[in-house]
Symmetry: D2
Subunit: 339 residues, 4 copies
C-alpha cells in the first residue's frame, strides 16, 4: 500500500498513519519530497481496506498496490488451469469448448430433443436449469430434482457433460450425483456462504460474473472457492449492467483477455445473457472466440417461442449449427480449435 | 402489454403475435393505422416476458404497461404501511426513525458503549452485524451467535430495538429470538430462496436495494417476501454502482420519493454505504430526510479507526450527535419529526 | 506518481521506468522491499498520463497522487470563491441563491409572466434558453437572439439576474450584452475550444457537469476556464447517467459536498434535469440544500403542458412557491439562508 | 405513441390526454379494457417527448413506438450505405477497411514512418490528430494546420486516405482540403451546432459514439448530419463508460450488430479507445471483425512510449502487422475480407 500525505500534513499525522500501517503488518518506507511525504507499505497483508486510510487526517490518497486475491492470480499457476473431465474433455487447453441447451429443463421430450441437436452440432456440454432464479415470484421456478434426473439421464445416454445452476447451500448435496459442473449464477456471485460451501466440494464449478461486479470482485469471489480447496473452477462473463437499454446487458468482451492476464482460471463466455436477444447472440459468440475465451455457454431451445424462460435469447437449433461452423473458422486465428 | 408491429409486418405475423398474447391470457385489441398495426393486450397476466415478443418476426416494439408486482404496489395499500413495534416505535408514520451503531459487533464493551451513545443522541434502533458479507475471504467475518447475544442483551438493557443482517437461510431460525428486525443485505436482494423463506417468518424485515438493482427489481424482490405473508417490510436505499469512483457508491436519493410513489412500504436511507466516506455521511443523511425518507440507518463506532470493518464510513459518536440536531431542524420542512 | 513494479521486474525494467519518470520532471525515490520495488515520483508535473506507465513492462500498478488540476483545487483559494453581482447578490456566501424560469424562452408573455412568478416566490435569477441543444434535429431549437433580448428586457424590468446557455463560440460575443451569467451545458462540458474561449471573457459563468463526467473531469474542465483568467465560475450538478431508467438521470447529490471539499468554486444543483419528472423535483431541491449546495437552478413554467421543451420536469408556479417555503425551513440546518 | 391510463383515470383525464395527442398530430385509437384504458396514437409526428405524457394526471405509462430518427434508419436504405472514395476504396461493402496511425501527428518523421508501416501491413486509411481534445488544459493540444499539411503530404505520397478529427466549426473549412474523412469525436457527438455544419459539407464523415450515449442517441446525432444532406456518413463504437475501471472504457461490441440492424450506415470499431491498453487492443479488434464491423480504426505509433498522447493504447508496428494477419483469418467467417 502507498499512502500519499497531503502537503499540509503534520508530522504527528504522518506518524499516526505509519503506526496504523505497522499495526497491519506493513514495513513502512518514508519518502519526504519537497511538496509532500509518501509512505510505502511493503509486505503481504491481504485483508485491509485502503478506504480506512483515505479518510485519515492528513492523507491525500491511499492506494493498494498488491492484488487482494492470491490463489486466483495468474502467478499462482502461470501455466494456466486446465480442467480434465473423465471423458477426456478439457477446459482451458487448446480447444474451445461449447456448452449449449435450454434455459430450463421443461420436459423429457424437450431436453432429449435439444441434447441431440446440440451434440450433433458439436457441443460437449448440455446446459439446463432445474432450479431457476427469477426476478418475479410469479414466474416458472424450475422442475427441481426431476429436472436434474432428466439431465443425468440424457447426459448418460448422449455422452454430453451436464452443467446446471446451484442456487442454495441445501441444493449442493442433492445436485452432486446429477451434474458434472455446478454453475453459480450472476446473482449469487457474492453469496459468500454459498461460495464457501462450494469450496468444500470436489466438483468442477463455473462462477458467473455478477451484473455489476468488477473483474477484481469476480476474482475475489473465486478466491472464496479456491481457498476451500476446490481448484476445478472456471469463470464466466455474461454481461454487465450499463445505461444502454437496447440490449439486456452490455457484454464486456474485454473481460475475456483481462481475466486471462490476471488469472490462471479458464474463462467462459455467455453471449445469450450477454445481449439477451437471439438475433445478436451469434455475433457475440463469434466475438468471444476471437477475443480468446476458453469456452462458450449458449442457450438453444427446440422451440424458443414456447420456452418457459429466456425464450427471447435462445437460438433455434439451426442457428446454433450455423454458428458452430463460423466458430470453427475463427478459432484458428487465436491458435485454438473448436472441440 | 402493447405490441407495435413493424410497418412491413404480414397479416400472418400479426395473427401469430395475437395468438401468443391470448395464450398468456390477454384480451387483444387491434388498432390498424395507416402505417402500422398496434396490439393492446388487456388483462392481468403477471408473469410474462416482453422480450419474448420483441424478438418475434414483424414486431417493432413490445411494452409492458402494468407493473410486474402487485402486493408491493402503492395501490395495494394506498394509505401506506406503518410498522408498529412492541415498545410503540413506528416506522412509516409521522416520525422519522434513526437506526445507528457499528458495522460489526466486535466486543461487549464496544457494543454497550456505542449503544449508549446513539441512544443518548436519539436513535431508536441499534444496528450491528453478527454475520458479515465480506468481498474477501480473508476479512473479518463477524462474531456470529455470540454477537447476536450481545445485541439482545444491550437491546434489553437500553430499550433500543435491534436490527441485524441475515445472510443465509440456516441463520433465520437462530436469529429470530435475538433481533427485532431482520436485515437483508444488498448482495442478497436477489437471493430468491432466502427471500422466500423470509416471507414465511413473522418478523419485521428491511430489504436493501442491490447495488445494481433497478427500483422495479427492488419492488419485485419485496414481492417475494410479501407474497409469503410477511407484510412488516421496509426497503432501504444504500447507493448504486456508477462510473463515479470518488464515492464508494452513488447514493440514489431520488429513489426515496420514487419508492414512496410506487409502493406503500416504508423507505429507509443508508448514507453510510451510500457514500462510503465518513466526511460525506452527514450531508447525505440530511439530504435523505429532506427527500422524505421514513428512517435512516447510520454506522457509528466509538473508535472508527480501529473498527474491524467499514471504519472509513463510520461516524464518531460526536459527529452523530451533531447530525441528529441538524435532522431535527430539517424534518419539519417535510411535515415530519425525528423521533 | 507512484509506480509499483511487479515481483518479477528486472533491474533493467526498473531503470527504464525511472528514466521515463525523470523525463517528465519527477524526482524519483526508490524503495526496495522483499517482494517488490516501489518508485515514488516527487515533483509537480501536471500533464502526464499514468496509463503510459501502467502498460510498461515490469509495472504492476501506476497511480497519480497529485490532482491533475491546480486553479480549481480548494487549496488555491481555501476560503472559497464568492461571486458578487452588481446588484449585491452573491453566490458562494451565506445565502443559497435560487435561479428559476422556463427551459426555453417562448414568447414575451410567457417570459414576463414566469419572471414575476419566480421573483415573487424569492428567486434572484431568471433562467431561460435562447439557444437550445436538442437531441433531435426536428425539435424546437430556441428563439435565438430574440429570446436573449426578451430576457434582458425582463431582467431590467424585474431586477432579476439573467442566466442563459451558450452553445457555440460564435454566440459568445452576441450574448455578453444580454446575460449576467453564461451557462455551459452538460453536453459541452468537454467542448474544450468553447471552454478556452469562455476563459477569455469576463462574465460570470456556470459550468454543468456532463452526464457521464466524473467529478475530477468536471474540475479539469473548470481548469480550462480558470486558466484563461475567468475566475467568476460556478459549477452545477445536474444528474448523471446510470442504469436506472425510472428517472431521466440519477442526481448525484453526493457530488455537492465532494466538490465543496475538493474545490473553492460555488456548487449549484439542478434538480429539474437531475430527475426529469416534475413530481420529484421538490424532493431533490430540498435534498440539495440539505446537502450544502450554494444555489439551485429550477425549471418553472406558467403552463408546463404547453412548454416547447422540458415540460415534464417544469414546476407549476404554485409548486415552486411552496417549495421555496420548504427550502427556507431547511437552510438554517446547514447554517445558510435562502436569499 | 401508446399511452396507458391508470386504473383510476377519470374520463376527463382521458379526454385531456387525447386532446394533447391530437395537438401533436396523432390519430388516436382508444381501447377500453376491464381494468384500464389504452390510447394508441397513430401517425408520424417525429418531435415530441413522451416524458410530457408520463407526468400527466391519470397516465400510467407512455411509450414511443416509432423511432425518433428517419434518415438514419435502416428502412431509409435497406441495402445499406456504401461510401466509395476516389481511389476505389469502399466502406460498407464486402471488405473490412482498416484505418491506422498515431493519436497525434507529432513530426514529419513520425508520420511518414508510421504511414509506411501501416500501409505495408494493409491499412487503407491513415489516422492522425492535428487538433486534439484533451481533458487537461496542460496537455499537448496538437500541431494544428501544420499537422494537417503533413497528413495531406503523406497521404498523397503513399496513397493512404486521410482521416482526422474536427473539433470546432471554425476548423471545418480549413480542414477540407487536407483530409478525406472528417472525424467527429466522442465528446462532440452532441455538439449539435457542429453536427449541423458538418451536414452542410460534402465530405465523408465518421461520427463517434459518445462515451455515455445510447445507440438511439448516436442515430439521432447522425440524423442531424444526414438531414443537412451529407449522406457519406459512417458511425464508430469506441467504448462506453461503465463502473469497470480496469479498462479505460467498456467497448460495447454488441453495438456493432445492433447498429447494423437499426441503421444503413457503415459501422467502424475503435478498439484502441475501447479498452485503452495496448495489450488488449488486438483481442478487441478481432472481436469487432467477428461481430461484423465494416472497418477498424487503430492507434499505431512507431515509438508508443514517447507518444505525446495515448501512448498506452498505441500498438507497436509489429503488433499491428501480426494483428492484420489474424483479422484476415477471421473475416471470411462473416463473409468479408480484409481489404
Amino acid at each position: 500500500m502507498i499512502v500519499a500525505m497531503s502537503e499540509k500534513a503534520t508530522e504527528e499525522q504522518i506518524q499516526h498513519v505509519i503506526e496504523r500501517m505497522m499495526d497491519l503488518g506493513f514495513n513502512v518506507h518514508k519518502t519526504t519530497g519537497a511538496i509532500q511525504t509518501v509512505l510505502a507499505g511493503v509486505g503481504m497483508p491481504v485483508a485491509f481496506d485502503v478506504k480506512d486510510f483515505e479518510v485519515m487526517d492528513g492523507v491525500a490518497e491511499a492506494v493498494r498496490i498488491t492484488s487482494p486475491y492470491k490463489l486466483a492470480g495468474r502467478k499462482f499457476r502461470p501455466e494456466g488451469t486446465v480442467i480434465t473431465f473423465p471423458n477426456g474433455v478439457t477446459v482451458g487447453g487448446d480447444k474451445v469448448v461449447v456448452m449449449a441447451g435450454p434455459c430450463s429443463v421443461e420436459s423429457r421430450e424437450q431436453i432429449f430433443t435439444v441434447a441431440m441437436q446440440v451434440k450433433d452440432a458439436g457441443a460437449q456440454f448440455l446446459r439446463g436449469g432445474a432450479f431457476k432464479p427469477r426476478s418475479s415470484p410469479y414466474s416458472f421456478q424450475g422442475m427441481g430434482l426431476d429436472g436434474l434426473k432428466l439431465l443425468r439421464e440424457v447426459g448418460d445416454e448422449t455422452g454430453l457433460l451436464i452443467i446446471s445452476e446451484v442456487m442454495e447451500i441445501s441444493q449442493i448435496e442433492a445436485m452432486l450425483p446429477y451434474v458434472d459442473v455446478l454453475q453459480i449464477g450472476a446473482r449469487n456471485m457474492q453469496n459468500f456462504n454459498l461460495l464457501r460451501e462450494i469450496g468444500q466440494v470436489r466438483k468442477p464449478t463455473m462462477l458467473k460474473r455478477g451484473m455489476c461486479a468488477t473483474i477484481e470482485e469476480l476474482l475475489l469471489s473465486a478466491e472464496y472457492i479456491l481457498s476451500g480447496g476446490n481448484y476445478e473452477l472456471m469463470l464466466c462473463e455474461r454481461g454487465i449492467r450499463t445505461f444502454e437499454t437496447y440490449t439486456r446487458n452490455t457484454m464486456d468482451i474485454s473481460a475475456i483477455p483481462v481475466v486471462k492476464t490476471l488469472s490462471h482460471l479458464p474463462m467462459i463466455a455467455d453471449p445469450s445473457h450477454g445481449v439477451g436477444r437471439r438475433d445478436k447472440v451469434p455475433a457475440m459468440a463469434r466475438a468471444s472466440v476471437a477475443a480468446g475465451c476458453d469456452g462458450l455457454i449458449i442457450e438453444v431451445h427446440p422451440n424458443p417461442e414456447k420456452a418457459t424462460s429466456d425464450g427471447a435469447q435462445s437460438l433455434y437449433p439451426e442457428q446454433f449449427t450455423k454458428l458452430m461452423g463460423q466458430l470453427r473458422m475463427i478459432a484458428p486465428a487465436v491458435e485454438r480449435s473448436i472441440a
